[in-house]
Amino acid sequence: MSVLDSKIPKGAINDKWTYYKDHVNLVNPANKRSIDIIVVGTGLAGSSAAASLAEMGYSVKAFCFQDSARRAHSIAAQGGINAAKNYKNDGDSTYRLFYDTIKGGDYRAREANVHRLAEVSANIIDQCVAQGVPFARDYGGMLDNRSFGGTLVQRTFYAAGQTGQQLLLGAYSAISKEVAKGSVKMYARHEMLDMVIVGGKARGIIARNLVTGEIERHSAHAVLLCTGGYGNVFFLSTNAMGSNVTAAWKAYKRGAYFGNPCYTQIHPTCIPVSGDHQSKLTLMSESLRNDGRIWVPAKKEDVEAIRQKKKKPTDLAEGDRDYYLERRYPSFGNLVPRDVASRAAKERCDAGYGVNATGEAVYLDFAAAIERYGKIECTKKNITNADHATIIKLGREVVKEKYGNLFDMYMQITGENPYETPMMIYPAVHYTMGGLWVDYNLMTTVPGCYALGEANFSDHGANRLGASALMQGLADGYFVIPYTIGEFLANDIRTGKIPTNTPEFDEAERQVKERIEKFLSSKGTKPVDYFHKKLGKVMWNKCGMARNAQGLKEAIEEIKAIREDFWANVRVTGTANEFNQELEKAGRVADFIELGELMCRDALAREESCGGHFREEYQTEDGEALRDDNKFAHVAAWEFKGVENEPSRHKEELVYENIKLVQRSYK
């Protein structure tokens, strides 16, 4: 029997969540007032959870490292949010969203959680519209949809290319409403540096006030980690500069198991790297694949000519182009899931067809869409015999309305005009499906410690579908945790306030201060970023889009060496009692280094390919991921055993009662 109890409710898949809600323990309104909850992180999951729990009557303390709750990186999500509303009458349903998510995740997600996600998805749209989120609408005033990768229906709701921003500002307005009432106390520019366990339960955190440097103790009856993903372990990613694993890592070191750390999503459409100074990579939304066609030249001599700037991409005739996604995957074409699209780009570039100087870029071309839209506009406007220039002009206007902000962003970064020449794109680290292991209640293996949103491992299996991250973050915060937290807190109605003057808090605070002292007293000469970049290179080369046993073994040793080098030779300037951004970075990078090693161990232990985890030894004849359902249809959950020791790998077997495991095909 596994040590992991997923606590999946009984009953048929359609009835589980309803049964659960009907039978879960509740806390009465008067008792809620005397129960404190800490929420770390104020992205979609954190803000929505903090607001919803405060509305119910709990006393909430919310923390974020940014200067305001509104800045969390959920804000950067571009394309949209999925929901099984079936407003398009195109055959969508809760079951289809459930099925697409399980299949998209390459059959490595827990059925019961994913079905619940699909069930509450429609409520999210209702809630956001009620808050004033200005989704795109049609001329009848109804909500509009578009389609994303890995699906055959249009279920994605959007607000131009700024859906994440609008949803986060909705959740931020909800949390602001509760701050005004005093039911949420907001701690911006605060970073959680440890979790405090009292009597085997998560009962508080140690946080650093990033402005004054003061180390603070905060107690609560439960701690919710809504701290996002850990893509920055690669240094270069589409994450914000401050996105980090520290809060989740501290929980891991205090006993929360880490689920599937090796599942990383490499997003196919990002702006390629331009040089060593690069600090982050910028995503071009997946929604662009609705209208953009991805290609490389079919002939090597054209590749050479383009790299030497003797030819422009627009010079190439249709027959000289290889639309490799349309060629390999005729039924999904350019809208295959992200992992498939990324690997296909890598395959072409590895074969020598990359179109920029580094050989790591492919084209995303809008010429066909511009012409198609232009012709439709001409028809609408009754322009007969329109010349080519008119068609293109009108077509560009349509494309501008749909993707204008993305095109502007591209132009800003590259200096090229994507209305005239195809975009150059390449895959980049974007999202991490792995995260703290949680049960059906979203509770980690530490009682009272919960993980929501990207910080947990739960719903996306080995690959997340586009527009599902926003859905999951808000589902967890608005509609799941308000129910599931009662199960735990119902036992705490007589506990009373958790004191912070206890040995457990003393000890945690001592350790935090000791570590800060260690950074500041290090006599090294190299800045923190030096080590971060070094770690990132190892991770990208050996634990990135393709992995193999030998590379992973090497990576584990290389990362150990980086860790030793870091502690011996890092230089952190300034003092502990001031605004000190180098000190903040040092703490985060120290944790990333440890995490990197765990990711490699997980990737090494998973001897199969699935979703974002592609082991070169395990592939089909035509280069597709080859799963091993007999040996690996399970979640790997890692238990910390000390920095110098190997962690233990536990298994949660995944039972598929409703969906048959098959080889995923998008052909």
Partner: protein, 249 residues
């Protein structure tokens, strides 16, 4: 490229602060402005000097955390971009660049180029929301919204809360920021019920925070990285006037 940077250094809110010269070399035109500062900071750390503190996070122009007044202009010389999206190809070899924080009494300096913009949070807390609790919503399509209004509400809602409008305004007025939120919610049917209280409370909080008044110079609109329109200020003034008259009864 070789550049001379004149950067504002201020060790905490009570320090007087001064401009300090930093010559930089090997600046690539493909670097972003903040990457140029990253490289400078790495050199400073290697020398054992204090790196320059500045706020930033998403580096794709949407979180609103980056700031900086560059050569006298909030978010630098280019229109419609944030500092993090500004690239060095906007400058040329030999340039001298002045880099200062967003300055306003309501935005006290924390350190060097980082300022405290929590006044904006308090203005939103005063009423920048629709009072709907989780679970109390009707079906999203039960409330059609005229596309024109929805588009205008969206345009107002794209404000990133960076504070460039305040830093640019000679009166340090926050009218563009406040009016963007007031407009977004006033244009939508679901925001109408609380519209009057909202505008009165938000404007009241704005005044309490010490932001200056609007004298219609329009500088905020010019420097806003998201192109938030002055029309919003007009709409807020109208909302405010109507609300003041009605509330007095």
């Amino acid at each position: 490229m070789k550049l001379t940077l004149k950067i504002w250094r201020q060790n905490g809110p009570n320090d007087k602060g001064k401009l300090v010269d930093y010559p930089v070399d090997h600046v690539s035109p493909d670097m972003s402005f903040l990457e140029m500062l990253d490289v400078l900071n790495e050199h400073l750390v290697e020398k054992g000097d204090q790196p320059i503190a500045f706020d930033h996070d998403c580096r794709e122009g949407i979180c609103g955390m980056c700031s900086l007044v560059i050569n006298g202009r909030a978010h630098g010389p280019q229109g419609a971009v944030t500092t993090c999206q500004l690239h060095m190809r906007s400058f040329k070899d030999g340039d001298t660049i002045y880099i200062e924080p967003f300055r306003a009494n309501s935005f006290p300096v924390i350190k060097d180029l980082a300022v405290d913009r929590s006044a904006f949070d308090r203005i939103i807390q005063a009423g920048g929301y629709i009072s709907v609790n989780t679970g109390a919503a009707q079906d999203a399509n039960n409330l059609p919204v005229n596309k024109n209004d929805a588009d205008k509400a969206f345009s107002a809602a794209t404000c990133i809360g960076c504070g460039a409008c305040v830093a640019t305004c000679k009166n340090a007025s926050a009218m563009l920021f406040v009016s963007a939120k007031v407009s977004q919610l006033a244009l939508l049917p679901q925001g109408k019920i609380e519209a009057q209280d909202r505008v009165l409370n938000m404007v009241n909080q704005m005044d309490l925070e010490g932001f200056g008044n609007c004298t219609n110079t329009g500088a905020c609109e010019v420097e806003c990285p998201k192109g938030i329109s002055l029309d919003n200020i007009a709409r807020m003034n109208r909302e405010y006037l109507v609300a003041s008259v009605k509330k007095e009864k």
